[in-house]
Symmetry: C2
Subunit: 123 residues, 2 copies
Amino acid sequence: MKPPRSSKNDVFLRYKLWLSAVSGEGIIGEGKYKLLRMIEKLGSLKAAAESLGVSYRKAWGDIKESEELLGYDLTEKTRGGVGGGNSVLTSKAKNLLEAYDALHKKMDNAIEDAYDDFKKKIS
Amino acid sequence: MKPPRSSKNDVFLRYKLWLSAVSGEGIIGEGKYKLLRMIEKLGSLKAAAESLGVSYRKAWGDIKESEELLGYDLTEKTRGGVGGGNSVLTSKAKNLLEAYDALHKKMDNAIEDAYDDFKKKIS
DNA sequence: AGTCGATATGTTATCTACTTCATATCGGTG
DNA sequence: CACCGATATGAAGTAGATAACATATCGACT
């Protein structure tokens, strides 16, 4: 018989990766990454927050916190006008997202390499 | 003047790595790793929990949860007797810790490699 | 047989992060 | 120039995680 593809005791590796300030606060991780990408896509913080199922209050606070920690803006905000306002990514934000992508890719490769070895050891 | 070694806007990368069940619960990560290593060192769950500044209740629950998820014991428990009882690691637990160590080392290397590249990109 | 200290486990309180609510501000467009 | 909808921000309510508290159980040693 062939082995089951997964069992009750199946396990796998997970990891979180983030950029942090010396003070410990997270500047960008999975959550803020997704939020920024969604702002890029939708052109609005409100729409981005809603589409991710996170409160506007938190999304707004997250962006603000990151910007304060980094010392530069990640989004260019507009109030009033057509549609009430909007948010678009700054070029620095886009740059940061690119760098985060590359980093994540490298770590994904590393963990994939280490995974088989790990499973062999614990089985 | 020479540049400061660190500034207000200094940032660095951090990551967490853990073994997870399909259901999502963590089987072993930094916390349980430290707890198990401390049990190994001190020979008691109570002493280990206290030395790590975590409540006995939580430490006990953590170990139990991991054991249930893995389907095997990580500690051999004794009640009564000299000293009131004790906990020692099973060989499977030691094995798991070894594998976790190796994995972490690999990831540490990977992140170190990626770090300079990342910083160059975002600065 | 009684003592002692660790394991074992339910119950209640506290902490903290996030959501909800409330309210103000801005400015292009009709 | 009033209106609308997004940004901006304080304040209060909620839920999930952890700590604190309370008790029971076990068994070698005296």
